[in-house]
């Protein structure tokens, strides 16, 4: 797969992560390939355990101890997987920043939020006053009211939405080109979710930063993502422009996900639940990992693993029957 468009900021090529659990090893990520273009939002979607968070963390090399990796993570013509630890540390925060799922867990409770946001500016050798001014500006930019008051607050003194804003401010502090947001709204209530999503989308537009959004929530994705990467059991099932993927899925799994979104307009709260349980990457079914739950399953699906193939420019699907999937 050497389909590297010249505009791609990040190009993941056949990324593999192998984890050991006791005596057995599992290929948790199996030949993941996708790219993130500058200034666009790419959504990484899938059920719990599909490997979406693992993929995001592999990009900044925050993997569990003992994980083995293969493949390439091309970051502006440079392979991060082969890079030295020092270079990776330079990239982290300044070029690629991460927003974590649960801001209460991801903020150090013993330090003020101002100190944590000021981490990177301070390391740049800015004076104390300059760091403070920068942190105040960042707090203001992420919509925290009364930054002068909040800068010296500890994480527990803020509300959930404000903590997530602090996390976003931390991510912005290094002026990164790519922000990885791992379920940034999952720990928040619905009204706050909407506000934080609007903030992230707005920032992306103003700053021109690319965003890799990891979520299991298709409604979030439908609202913010430009491109979608659908993951199933540690493999990419389908990827392409978000609208096209959601409107005319080319993989039965995507179709099931899309039909599954409870809509306010339809009466049924849970429409057509997906039969069966998600596949475990440690014990993946032979052939297509989705075949035990797939309504279109054929004998070929049980034995032959489908490769991700390009159906039309920009649309990829890992289904033998991709052409036959109807919305």
């Amino acid at each position: 797969m050497t389909d590297r468009p010249p505009t791609a900021l990040l190009d993941v090529e056949d990324l593999e992560v192998v984890l050991a659990a006791g005596a057995t090893t599992g290929t948790v990520l199996d030949r993941i390939s996708f790219s993130v273009d500058a200034g666009r939002t790419t959504g990484l979607i899938g059920e719990s355990g599909s490997g979406k968070t693992m993929t995001a963390m592999a990009l900044v090399q925050l993997l569990p101890a003992g994980a083995r990796t293969a493949g390439h993570v091309w970051w502006r013509e440079e392979d991060l997987l082969g890079a030295r630890a020092r270079r990776v540390r330079q990239v982290r925060g300044r070029e690629i920043a991460v927003i974590f799922q649960d801001p209460l867990q991801a903020l150090n409770p013993t330090q003020t939020v101002g100190r944590q946001i000021g981490e990177i500016p301070r390391r740049d050798g800015l004076s104390r006053d300059a760091v403070r001014a920068k942190v105040l500006e960042l707090l203001d930019r992420v919509g925290i009211p009364d930054p002068e008051q909040r800068i010296d607050a500890y994480p527990h003194e803020l509300s959930g939405g404000q903590r997530q804003r602090v996390m976003i401010a931390m991510a912005l502090a290094g002026e990164p080109r790519l922000i990885i947001a791992d379920e940034p709204t999952t720990a928040l209530d619905v009204t706050t979710q909407a506000r934080v999503l609007a903030l992230i989308a707005g920032l992306r537009e103003r700053e021109g930063t690319a965003l890799l959004l990891v979520s299991h929530d298709l409604r979030v994705m439908a609202n913010v993502a430009d491109d979608l990467v659908v993951m199933y059991a540690g493999r990419v099932a389908e990827r392409g422009p978000a609208r096209a993927v959601l409107d005319s899925p080319r993989h039965p799994y995507t179709r099931a996900l899309a039909n599954n979104v409870p809509s306010v307009r339809t009466r049924s709260a849970i429409a057509r639940p997906l039969p069966g349980a998600p596949a475990n990457p440690f014990d993946r079914p032979a052939g297509c990992a989705f075949h035990p739950r797939c309504p279109l399953v054929t004998d070929r699906c049980r034995t032959e693993t489908p490769r991700l193939r390009e159906l039309e420019p920009g649309r990829f699907s890992a289904c033998h029957l991709a052409e036959e999937v109807t919305p």
Partner: protein
């Protein structure tokens, strides 16, 4: 007096007045150690043969000996007061050294795992298999007597407890999201360790430090009692107790007062340590 006020402040004392007792007693000891030597003059090498073995309350050549005098005519009260300072100085020095070394080794072992952990854990196992006081006796016995040697001898084995505690906490804190968050911001490993892991050791380490302080004070007294600890020109409860041994039947006060001072201090520090341990082990995580 402000010191006792601060030490008796904890909120639990409002409901249980008895809970304040150890804090008050420790406060009195601290005041005695800080200001006692300024009030009561004492020269450990000056003897007064005419005043030897006087019972408590007797008049001596230089005033009243409230707690009596010892075998060479030195004032027992002065020994108790000056000994308090010695005990605190040595105890606190030992705890500072052992806590620093123990936190450093334990945090490194717990945070990095793998090879550093293997080496440090084996070192801990070896130290644990060897009685600390025996090690201290050997070291103090081999070297010249002096405060520095006592501190070193007691520190050699004392860091193990801190290291074990720090290792366990560092292992669990390392898994927390803010450590990952710091790493995604490109924070260097030493900075991650000192700013995002070590602060979480504070509560438990303080609780352990209190208990270690009591055992260091006790061990110093034991070394001095065995004539392996402090030289004769430094006042120590252990030496005073040893000096009164041969007069135990006739002049009990020489042994009993320094002994009681030591016992009460160790009990009170231990009580506070137990309470802190309960509080921090419950609150952790």
């Amino acid at each position: 007096m402000s010191e006792t006020a601060v030490l008796t402040a904890p909120t639990a004392t409002r409901r249980r007045p008895l809970a304040a007792v150890p804090y008050v007693i420790i406060g009195i000891y601290l005041l005695a150690a800080l200001f006692g030597p300024l009030v009561i003059d004492f020269d450990p090498v000056a003897t007064s043969v005419t005043d030897r073995l006087l019972p408590p309350g007797s008049a001596t050549g230089s005033g009243t000996a409230l707690l009596g005098t010892d075998g060479v005519g030195r004032d027992v009260l002065a020994q108790v007061v000056h000994g308090a300072r010695t005990s605190f100085v040595i105890g606190i020095a030992v705890v500072l050294i052992t806590a620093t070394v123990g936190i450093a080794l334990g945090a490194v072992a717990g945070y990095f795992g793998r090879f550093p952990d293997l080496v440090i854990s084996r070192l801990i196992d070896i130290m644990m298999a060897f009685p600390g006081i025996l090690l201290a006796i050997i070291i103090a016995g081999l070297l010249d007597r002096g405060p520095l040697v006592v501190i070193i001898a007691l520190s050699i084995g004392g860091w193990v407890g801190f290291a074990r505690l720090s290792r366990g906490i560092a292992m669990s804190v390392r898994e927390r999201d803010w450590v990952d968050a710091a790493r995604t911001m490109g924070v260097s490993t030493p900075a991650t360790l000192t700013r995002h892991v070590v602060p979480f050791l504070a509560g438990s380490v303080i609780a352990l430090a209190t208990i270690e302080l009591a055992s260091a004070v006790l061990a110093e007294a034991a070394l001095s009692f065995l004539n392996l600890g402090l030289p004769p020109d430094v006042v120590s409860w252990g030496q005073s107790i040893a000096g009164g041994r041969e007069y135990l039947a006739t002049a009990w006060w020489i042994t009993v007062f320094p002994g009681a001072a030591l016992t009460i201090l160790v009990i009170c520090v231990g009580l506070i340590g137990d309470r802190l341990t309960r509080r921090f082990t419950r609150k952790r995580d």
